[in-house]
Amino acid sequence: MDFSFSKDQEQLRKAVREFVEAEVAPFAAKWDEEDICPVDVFKKMGQLGFAGVFVPMEYGGAGLGYTERAIVLEEIARHSAGLAMFLMTHHLGVAAILHFGSEDQKKKYLPDLASGQKIGALAVTEPTGGSDLSGHQSTGEQVEGYWVLNGRKCFASNSHVAQVTVVTVKTGTDQKGRPALSAFIIESDNPGLTSGRKENKLGLRVSTMGDLVINNCKVGEDSILGGEGKGQRVALGIISEVGRAGMSAISLGILRGCLEEMVKFAKERKLYGKPISALQAIQFSIAETRIDYEAARLLTYNALTLKDTNQRCDVDLAMAKYFSTEAVIRAAKRNIENMGGYGVINDYSAGRFMRDGLAGLPSAGASNIMKVIVAAATLA
């Protein structure tokens, strides 16, 4: 069991870190405060291969795996979890097309998505529920050789910036009478797809989230992704793996941020004539955060190793997502507490870490759903 990263992965991490420290870290607080979605930075990341980390080179990607994707997301999230979320939700659209698309669809969409020239998205959640896909109200009707889609998506990430959006709609019922969903690729220049309200989020603010209005949206036959009736597979397949993996990696970044800030503050802040790092209570909270970070790291990268070697990983990813996202809340709280009054001042990143952590909890499946999945697998 070798738990170390390869030399290439270390070099990759270093390269991403250099970019993040120069182009992301100095602006993270401002983006969060002013609710800015820096599309220009996304384009720069695209040029460096971040937008298509796991896309094969033949489609214009970097040809790497999900482990490398996690390294990229972790490094970005260390300073701006919101920007990492922007990138990771783009990856959901990319992965959907990569894993379920026809050769033509892959050739058509992946190069622009992988290079960051186009932003992707995967919109599944509806007002009737995210965890419960059977409640889908959006519909798709086949009319004379094309499809007409109608409905509404909410809490859709990249709703206002994506050029290529994968949506799921109800296109029929299966043998058991349950709704059958199909996934469709819609481009932003399609007049039938518009963005509605933009949400004002508690955290992960850089990542735009809002409503999508699908109104008599006409798309061709060649827009169906993965085949008719396969929408549930597409949605769950991508969210449960690429989504959970993404949230875990982002959480690692925030955890590291909490840990590093805690250590820095503890060494600088003097009380009772000494740095507070001399106080056991502070030491314990740092130890707890460190342990949380290391455990989250191991769960995450172990799950990703399984994914990259094509082994079953959905349960491991559920465990990693659950643990990492919840650990962020614990660590962020410790960080704020250690900083005393400073912890609640927005000039410091402590508050943003907590808000970003909270905003990450419901993504890619709520904690309770993760527990349902892990219990089911464990009790089987």
Partner: protein, 269 residues
């Protein structure tokens, strides 16, 4: 336009955020550098970027060389990941203790060994003790014209000469320099590109070779510590600390108090 063969000399230096870890061995009076992570000297990255931009525009080849201990292989890989075509580590115990004259002698020999070069680029100075001497001395050992403080380079005449813009103390001076030549660059010349994921992956397959003293034609009289005219003596850490008396109060109170202090120091206010 003929394709230019360029060589960029890079130096691994301790990462500046690690300077507080640099300590002095009280017994040997020398610096303890082991275990401190290194980065490519920032100005050498500007030099590499300049070479890459020329290659991107006109074609050619960019080689990076570094006279350094074996750990510098990682820095050379970084340079390859940034876009260089091939790399050479010039490493040998015999080079230890080299001052700038000895170092530039070895670099010159390496440049000659790896093939004819049209343009040799390097940063004006290194971040860890920048003497800013190597580029000029390298030019002298090679017998090539050389220029420092460059903030702009343009290839002219189908690749036979360069237009080199430089920053002097009171003027910007533009030269035309015949190639082959050596140019050292300053920060404002460009903004080094970030390394892409693709760059990291492709760097695996690019050639990285080691050259030792056995591979090079060296002037033994100027080799290593023995052959370096300058020799290191004692090292110490200066104590620059002061009293640090706090001045407190409202903004306006503090400003008033400062004005008083300035008057007391002799200013007519």
């Amino acid at each position: 336009m003929k394709a230019l063969k360029m060589v960029v000399c890079i130096k691994p230096v301790p990462s500046p955020d690690q300077y507080h870890h640099v300590s002095i061995d009280p017994k040997t009076k020398s610096l303890i550098r082991e275990g401190i992570p290194t980065i490519i000297n920032p100005l050498d990255k500007n030099a590499l970027e300049a070479a890459l931009q020329i290659r991107d525009k006109y074609g050619g080849e960019v080689s990076v060389i570094s006279m350094a201990p074996p750990a510098a292989e990682e820095n050379l890989r970084e340079a390859l990941a940034m876009g260089a075509d091939r790399a050479f580590l010039i490493s040998d115990r015999a080079f230890a203790g080299s001052d700038t004259l000895a170092t530039s002698m070895v670099l010159a020999s390496a440049v000659k060994k790896i093939g004819p070069a049209d343009l040799i680029l390097t940063g004006n100075e290194s971040a860890d003790g920048g003497t800013s001497q190597v580029s000029a001395q390298l030019g002298e050992w090679l017998g090539y014209p050389h220029l420092m403080h460059s903030c702009g380079i343009e290839v002219l005449d189908g690749g036979d000469s360069l237009r080199v813009e430089t920053h002097r103390d009171q003027a910007r001076v533009v030269y035309i320099m015949k190639m082959p030549g050596v140019v050292s660059v300053i920060r404002s010349i460009n903004k080094p590109r970030f390394t892409s994921l693709m760059g990291v992956i492709s760097s695996r397959n690019k050639p990285l070779d080691t050259l030792s003293s056995l591979d090079l034609l060296l002037d033994k009289a100027f080799l290593g510590l023995e052959g370096s005219p300058t020799k290191p003596g004692d090292i110490y850490q200066p104590d620059l600390t002061r009293r640090c008396v706090p001045l407190e109060g409202s903004t306006d109170d503090v400003a008033l108090a400062l004005i008083q202090k300035l008057r007391a120091a002799g200013l007519q206010l």
